[in-house]
């Protein structure tokens, strides 16, 4: 979650990979991967399987649009 703070410029590819990871996180492109990581660390013992990708995206979209999201 906090790679940015401990991040050191090793090489150009590292920097580009880092920017790409930031863009993916910012747009929510990697939301499912982050959900899986969270599930494996926190909920692996509770339930048999995590949600599949399509089900997760449905759930995520419903949650995201419940409050004020956009402004004038």
């Amino acid at each position: 979650m906090c790679q940015a703070d401990s991040w050191k410029i090793g090489s150009v590819t590292d920097a580009l990979r880092h920017v790409w990871a930031m863009i993916r996180e910012l747009t929510g492109d990697d939301a499912y991967e982050r959900y899986l990581a969270h599930w494996h660390t926190h909920h692996a013992s509770e339930r048999a399987t995590p949600l599949d990708r399509a089900a997760f995206c449905r759930e995520e979209q419903r949650r995201k649009w419940e409050g004020v999201r956009r402004c004038c």
Partner: protein, 697 residues
């Protein structure tokens, strides 16, 4: 912490650098303020703005963070305490900044400065710079701070907790009212950009099927692949801009997309209702991805173009219209420049975002400064760029595009004669050439700010990135504005629907169930009817609608800012920080003075251009004397009713603000004199466990 010290500049160097920023900023601001020549380089605006934001951020926000709010990095944030991987997620501060900025940056800071340029560039520019650093950024920061200290609660809940039931109710009703007015006025901006323009209308229409396709793609073909979907969508949108040009040249097709204002208003109303009741994934979510991407891309491109090209600002520093005789909207520079530019200087709406999703993502309390204060400074910079883009036009052209036909006359020759009489040279031929270059039939009386901003942006872009595609750049700018205005229309209708369902749910529990379809249809219908009414009336109003609706929007937005500042002031007093209360109380007093004066003038001014009631009386007298015939006579009773409705709304805003101010004073005095008042609702300190492993900079 050792790394922190190592990274900092040595003290003398740092002092020297900030001294240079002060000198440079003062010089640039003086150049902007005292220039009375023919034109002035846009670079001065950019330099002055960046220096002022840098100083505000480095010193004032540091003072707020350390002394006033006493931000505490050892205190666990709601994201850490409730971390659930869904709503509450400790997130990297750059990512939170991105989300927060994308949420607060809407069409407001582009339109307000464009309209306020009728006073000249100076009043608006000064208000954007001063209003943001001392008001808007503070409001966003303090709202975020209060919400983090209250488990990420919303503004409405905080108002109820800190001020009591009356404060809570005022906040809720205020938000509903501002939504309705906001959507109506934004809808009107889009309608005015599409009126009798097949190119603009077909391009904007094409954004709907494109959004639907991307919605289906991200739902069924590649679930959750946001970047892939957005990339395809952006390519299709750019093709739609070129496609619109092709439609415009096609004899039969162009007739399918050629509509007058009222017809376009009805289409937007139907569209708004459909968007509100359709599932989010099908239209709203994909449209939002596309518009966020286009918005940030275009804003960055505009900044780069202005810096590369360094255009000349041709608008004078002050125009004669500071006396209140302006054609675009009536009223003197005080208070109306402060009403017209809300977003970009201080926007109450931001307090909803700052007390919405953002506080649930902050990993560290100290990030509130960067996100709350910093994101608003960037938004304010967008407003400065919009001001520059409006003011690079010849003033005569600016007034010809933005003045409603009801003021300057419907015939091109009349409009030109009127504008020339104000000593702003422009000719009919010049406007015809410009319209042809932009691929439009006419650019006269295209009120609302979007067309003149698009002309400004097109001329900046085509100069910076290639001269040949002026019409394409113009319609690109229109598409970009329409895209995220329609996103605000969809999202705003949805939010207002949720609120209405929430309110009605107290009376009929079934109505409160957000997924019960009859309730969805009924509540969406009410909300759409509310803004649809103002939108439709705006299109038949001879003064163009923007004239009366934009001030109403400004007043309601500033009223919401006043509510947020009332809550913040109460919190400061109750938490024994009364000696710093001026931090929120001064912007609050200013906003109350501005909104009250503006509302009073809109209500009771004897000038029919300014006062709603005197305008209604004037129309009624004309109607009674039989001076009006035909369509005008049929429409007049509706316009009279609308004036009186606007007056009632204004009175309502005025009363709400004052009720809240009285409540705030009562609670503050009660708290200071030890009498009974709602207690401070701050959650107790829980030590953070994240800071130990994190090296903060």
């Amino acid at each position: 912490m050792a790394t922190t010290v190592a990274k900092r500049l040595p003290r003398p160097l740092s002092l020297g650098m900030w001294a240079a920023v002060v000198v440079f900023g003062t010089f640039a601001l003086a150049a902007v303020a005292f220039n009375r020549g023919e034109s002035i380089s846009a670079m001065w605006f950019i330099v002055a703005a960046i220096c002022i934001y840098a100083l505000g951020y480095r010193f004032y926000s540091a003072f707020l963070a350390a002394k006033v709010f006493a931000l505490d990095s050892t205190r666990a944030t709601p994201a850490e305490r409730f971390s659930d991987g869904r709503d509450f997620v400790p997130t990297n501060r750059w990512i939170v900044f991105g989300h927060h900025f994308a949420a607060i940056a809407g069409p407001g800071p582009l339109i307000g400065p464009t309209l306020a340029a009728q006073f000249g560039y100076l009043p608006g520019t000064l208000w954007i710079l001063i209003g943001a650093t001392l008001g808007g950024c503070v409001q966003d920061f303090v709202s975020l701070f209060c919400s983090i200290r209250r488990d990420g609660r919303s503004l409405g809940q905080m108002a109820r907790d800190e001020l009591g039931v009356i404060g809570g109710a005022a906040a809720l009703i205020g938000v509903m009212a501002i939504m309705i007015i906001l959507i109506a006025v934004l809808g009107l901006v889009v309608v005015n950009a599409m009126r009798h323009s097949p190119w603009a209308t077909s391009t904007v229409a094409a954004t709907i099927p494109i959004a639907l396709m991307i919605g289906l793609f991200m739902r069924h073909v590649r679930p959750g692949r946001v970047l892939e979907g957005t990339a395809i969508g952006v390519v299709l949108l750019l093709l739609a801009v070129f496609g619109g040009g092709w439609v415009d040249k096609h004899e039969t097709l162009r007739a399918w997309f050629d509509y007058d204002g009222p017809s376009l208003a009805l289409m937007i109303i139907v569209y708004g209702f459909a968007a509100a009741v359709l599932p989010v994934w099908l239209l709203l979510a994909p449209r939002d991805y596309l518009s966020t991407f286009m918005k940030i891309g275009t804003i960055v491109a505009l900044a780069v173009a202005i810096i590369i090209l360094n255009p000349q600002v041709k608008m004078p520093a002050l125009t004669q219209f500071v006396d209140g005789t302006g054609p675009i909207f009536a009223g003197k520079v005080f208070p109306f420049v402060f009403i017209t530019i809300a977003c970009g200087a201080i926007s109450g709406f931001h307090s909803l975002i700052a007390s919405g999703t953002t506080p649930k993502l902050l990993a560290n309390e100290r990030d509130a400064r960067f996100i709350g204060y910093g994101a608003m400074a960037v938004e304010s910079f967008v407003a400065i760029m919009a001001m520059v883009a409006a003011c690079v036009l010849d003033p005569g052209v600016y007034f010809a595009i933005n003045s409603p036909a009801g003021v300057v006359g419907a015939q091109a020759a009349d409009a030109v004669a009127m504008i020339n009489s104000w000593h702003y040279p422009v000719t009919v031929e010049q406007m015809q050439v410009l319209a042809r270059e932009m691929g439009e039939a006419t650019l006269f009386a295209r009120t609302g700010g979007a067309p003149s901003l698009a002309v400004g942006m097109a001329s900046i872009f085509s100069n910076a990135f290639g001269d040949t595609l002026l019409a394409v750049w113009y319609h690109f700018a229109i598409m970009f504005e329409a895209l995220f205005i329609l996103t605000t229309v969809d999202a705003g209708t949805r939010v207002a629907r949720f609120m209405l369902q929430d309110i009605l749910g107290n009376l009929v529990p079934a109505m409160g169930r957000t997924s019960w379809y009859p309730s969805v249809l009924i509540c969406s219908g009410f909300v759409v009817a509310g803004w649809g009414y103002f939108l439709y009336i705006g299109t038949i109003d001879p003064l163009g609608g923007i004239n009366s609706l934009w001030p109403l929007f400004g007043i309601s937005n500033q009223m919401l800012a006043a509510i947020a500042l009332c809550v913040a002031t109460t919190v400061l007093v109750k938490s024994r920080r009364a000696r710093f209360v001026w931090v929120t109380a001064l912007p609050l007093v200013w906003l109350v003075a501005v909104t009250s004066t503006a509302a009073w003038q809109k209500l009771f001014s004897a000038d029919p251009g300014l006062g709603f009631l005197s305008h209604a009386d004037g129309l009624a007298a004309k109607l009674a004397s039989g001076a009006l015939t035909g369509a005008a006579a049929d429409q007049t009773p509706r316009l009279i009713f609308n004036d009186r409705l606007d007056a009632a709304l204004t009175a309502f805003f005025l009363i709400t603000v004052w009720v809240l101010v009285v409540e705030t004073s009562r609670v503050c005095f009660a708290s200071m004199s030890g009498k009974r008042c709602p207690p401070l609702a701050e959650t107790p300190h829980v030590p953070s466990r994240l800071v130990e492993d994190w090296v903060r900079d």
